[in-house]
């Protein structure tokens, strides 16, 4: 059976090799924090980190995952919502409906690690996840606040 390591735990999964990671996470592993929005790499709702890099999990098939790769989902970002992005999101009430926010947070956390003090332009250039509720302004403020917190 194919196996993968998610949030530090190794899992064997009963799924065809071409199953997208998104659906392995949601349906085989019960990690429903990662969301389905488009299935074509256009929205970012399914963003997870693989070895720290933000990746759109709807585009990664089970068979593409290499031995030793560490997959982090929103459930594994911190044990207690203590990641600076999570803290800033709560402090500024960033989410509206919240559906896109797991993906936004995973992308923002990756940005903050690479660029600890991002400017507006950095944020505009790297945060391509869509939000139909239009929380972009607060996401920008949230990333900056998280930068102060970290």
């Amino acid at each position: 059976m194919p196996a993968l390591t998610v949030n530090g735990t190794r899992h064997e999964v009963d799924a065809e090799p071409d199953t997208p990671l998104l659906w392995v996470l949601r349906e085989q592993l019960g990690l429903t924090g990662t969301k389905y929005g488009c299935g074509i790499a256009a929205c970012g709702a399914c963003t997870v980190q693989i070895d720290g890099q933000p990746m759109r999990s709807c585009q990664i098939q089970l068979q593409d995952i290499r031995e030793g790769e560490e997959i982090t989902t929103i459930e594994g970002l911190s044990p207690d919502r203590s990641h600076p992005i999570q803290q800033a999101w709560i402090e500024l009430d960033v989410p509206q409906c919240g559906y896109c926010q797991s993906g936004q947070i995973m992308a923002a956390a990756a940005l903050l690690r690479d660029v600890p003090e991002p400017t507006d332009e950095d944020i505009r250039a790297s945060m391509s996840n869509l939000c139909r509720c239009g929380t972009y302004n607060r996401i920008r403020a949230g990333i900056k606040r998280a930068s102060e917190l970290s």
Binding site: A15, E16, T19, P20, W23, R26, E27, Q28, G30, L31, T32, G33, T34, K35, Y36, G37, C38, G39, I40, A42, C43, A45, T73, I74, E75, L77, S78, R81, Q86, W89, I90, E91, D93, V94, P95, Q96, C97, G98, Y99, C100, Q101, S102, I105, I123, R124, A125, M127, S128, N129, L130, C131, R132, C133, G134, T135, Y136, N137, R138, I139, R140
Partner: protein, 725 residues
């Protein structure tokens, strides 16, 4: 707003019968007390449960879909109760409980920006009554008149300094009669309501633990993927189930109804894969199957000059005024179909047995889902219930007369009794089977006298009616009054902000074969774009300043004028725009609120850059200012998406756009900072979730026209060779 919520007779009766039960008195708190045992928690009254540990649970009838209503309603109840905000939480009653208790919670429908404004009085009374009962219980215990108590954060202090918490007396209070009348606090006394408190529902949206209905699971559940007819009115002619039955995980391949096929599998991904491999034959009505965007164009254009039209607003004699005018200005505009694209696609989980039907879903109006579940299952209303899940966006798609996800879920579950089935629409299925923002055009003729004053105006709207497509019973002698949102002569909902001595606004109804729906802002979106663009065109023709031109027509509309003045001041209109840029304005009224925007733009290589955008809203009262601000920003993102980037088109009767690659929306890249002015003037309650959505676009496009001379009359923006930068 008169957005009704159901098409089915069964549901209509259920809800109509229920509306008469005490709701009209505005104080139905005692109704259905005999049902209390059925509810899990002991309650003070229908709205409030106080637990022994002093926690307060507020029952919320409206639904949270991102707009902040949940927190706002709880603030209002907590305010009247003098509860401790730190111990407050909420729960959602089910529509089944509501029906059983003679609709004690009123309507669950959450649309038309009504969440707060239509229920604030009821929930505040609920909070005030709970406070009175808790105090009475303490009075009984101490044998003291409750008038001598003081209450702070859920702690009652008696005249001698003795204290009891709400939790201490909750059980006693629950046995008391609900008082017949209570006095509500004046908003000037508020300490919880009216404040920018943080939302109650944020934390678990940051760690993935919030369960949306697409995430819902129940033991033994199976998953369904569906395909509905790609052409309106089409039916399934046949399919070969055996071709996919052997695929991994597949359990059933079934016809759901005349126009829908489903594959059921252990996981949704496997169901979808098998569905994609399944060939389905269809029969289509010929007329619909040949319809395309050119036909829509021709249909709407014909209506612009048609003889017959429904009149929405009329004053004086327009023909005479135009005949005498020194100058007649003409312009035609158009607004395309839009899709809601809630980030969470349509879905529902249904479990049907011989005598019960249970649904878990994201819905804006669980009572219409209840009616739909009863209709689809053939079971009586009391045998059905709906559990309301967190919504990944609503915007009018979920449950405002379009509960198709519940109907389909129940129909599949009917064929698999005893097994819970979750049906998820793929994004492609979702986008091609929406309840679309109507497509319309408008043609204006405006007459100016020699001094450049507007003496007469005819606005002819041609196009689709939501009522005709979704709920024909709401038409008034064939006329759809909702078409004239924001253009009416009077009314608290959306009054035209201009006094024009000779005026005719009429509608030639033309209905293409695509289901319309209520899309955030509804008809205000195009009406504001049409009218506010044309007002600027008139000002230009009259060689007058657009602000001054508007002000001259708005002297009898001080509230409209106040928000306009606010954004003009905010953008610095008097000083003029910086070199190479221009300002644009817009004002409109909708959902009981007065709204305006001003934008500062530049245009370089056909790319429109919004440097600044200023919003003002007067919703009468404000319950949570920071959440109103969030709605202003979010509504601007959605409004600008529709005008600048996205449209739904049709070819051979089929919606052409299937996903975000062909239906782009505003992203972080385009989103401007928004300067927000919330200026509640008191005395009325207006909505917040929608109103500001319709003012951003005209402000931006008026600025573009002033800067470049290029007037955008057809949306989206790229039809004029421009794009948003």
């Amino acid at each position: 707003m008169t957005e009704h919520f159901t098409l089915s007779r069964r549901g209509f009766l259920a809800s109509a019968a229920a509306t008469t039960g005490g709701l009209a008195l505005g104080f139905p708190l005692g109704a259905g007390a005999e049902q209390l045992d059925k509810l899990a928690q002991p309650e003070i009254n229908a709205w409030v449960v106080v637990q022994p540990d002093n926690t307060v649970i507020v029952r919320v009838a409206k639904i949270e879909m991102g707009q902040g209503t949940l927190t706002g309603l709880v603030q209002l109840v907590a305010e009247e109760m003098d509860a401790d905000w730190d111990t407050v939480s909420w729960s959602y009653p089910t529509p089944g409980e509501n029906v059983a208790r003679e609709r004690v919670w009123g309507s669950f429908g959450t649309f038309g920006s009504q969440g707060i404004r239509t229920s604030q009085e009821m929930v505040r009374q609920g909070g005030a009554a709970a406070r009175a009962m808790l105090l009475q219980a303490a009075a009984n215990r101490w044998n003291v008149d409750p008038g001598e108590f003081s209450v702070e954060r859920g702690v009652i202090t008696g005249p001698g300094g003795e204290t009891l918490t709400y939790g201490d007396v909750a059980e006693d209070a629950a046995r008391l009669d609900v008082p017949e009348s209570v006095t509500l606090k004046d908003p000037s006394e508020w300490t919880i309501a009216g404040k920018s408190l943080l939302r109650l529902d944020t934390a678990d949206k940051t760690d993935g633990s919030r369960v949306f209905s697409i995430d819902f699971k129940v033991d033994g559940m199976v998953n369904a993927a569906i395909r509905q007819t790609p052409v309106q009115g089409g039916t399934v002619a046949g399919f070969d189930a055996s071709s996919v039955e052997g695929m991994p995980g597949v359990q059933r391949v079934l016809q759901v109804d005349d126009s829908t096929v489903a594959v059921v599998a252990d996981t949704w991904w496997r169901a979808k894969k098998a569905l994609d491999a399944l060939e389905i034959e269809w029969d289509f009505p010929e007329e619909n199957a040949s319809f395309g965007t050119e036909d829509l164009e021709a249909m709407l254009t014909e209506g612009l000059t048609a003889e017959e039209a429904f009149i929405g607003n009329e004053a004086g004699d327009v023909a005479e005024a135009l005949g005498k005018a020194a100058q007649v200005v003409e312009a035609t505009y158009s607004y395309p179909w839009q899709h809601h694209v809630t980030m969470e696609p349509m879905n529902a989980t249904a479990l049907v047995t011989d005598d019960s039907c249970t649904v878990w879903t994201s819905t804006q109006n669980a009572e219409s889902d209840l009616a739909a579940a009863s209709e689809a299952s053939g079971l009586e209303i009391p045998q059905c219930d709906i559990h309301r899940m967190n919504l990944g966006g609503g915007f009018g798609r979920r449950g405002a007369s379009s509960t198709d996800y519940t109907t389909i879920g129940v129909k599949i579950a009917m064929q698999m009794k005893g097994t819970a089935v979750k049906v998820i629409w793929s994004r492609e299925e979702d986008m091609t089977h929406g309840a679309y923002h109507p497509a319309t055009k408008a043609r204006f003729r405006g007459g100016l006298d020699a001094d450049g004053n507007l003496t007469g105006m005819h606005m002819r709207i041609s196009g689709q009616s939501i009522f005709a497509g979704l709920m024909p019973f709401a038409l008034e002698d064939g006329k759809d009054p909702l078409v004239f949102q924001g253009l009416q002569a009077d009314g608290q909902e959306g009054q035209l902000g201009y006094t024009i001595p000779n005026l005719l606004i009429d509608h030639a109804m033309r209905n293409p074969p695509l289901r319309p729906g209520f899309w955030r802002g509804v008809n205000n979106n195009q009406n504001s774009f049409y009218l506010e663009s044309f007002i600027d065109e008139l000002a230009l023709a009259a060689d007058r300043d657009p602000l001054e031109f508007r002000r001259a027509l708005m002297q009898d509309h001080p509230k409209h004028l106040a928000v306009l003045n606010k954004v003009a001041e905010g953008i610095g209109w008097e000083n003029g725009a910086p070199e190479g840029r221009a300002f644009g304005l817009c004002q409109h009224m909708g959902y009981g609120s007065y709204v305006a925007a001003a934008a500062e733009v530049s245009v370089e290589n056909d790319a429109v850059k919004i440097h600044r955008i200023v919003a003002a809203t007067d919703p009468g009262h404000v319950v949570n200012p920071q959440q109103v601000e969030a709605q202003i920003e979010g509504s601007f993102a959605m409004g600008l998406s529709a005008s600048m980037m996205s449209e739904i088109t049709m070819q051979d009767g089929r919606v052409q756009e299937e996903n975000f690659d062909t239906y782009p929306i505003v992203s972080m890249w385009e989103m401007p900072d928004v300067e927000k002015h919330i200026i509640p003037s008191g005395g009325f309650w207006g909505g917040v979730g929608e109103p500001t959505i319709f003012v951003a676009t005209p402000a931006v496009l008026n600025a573009v026209a002033r800067l470049t001379g290029k007037r955008v009359r057809e949306l989206p923006l790229y039809r004029s060779g421009l794009r948003l930068s």
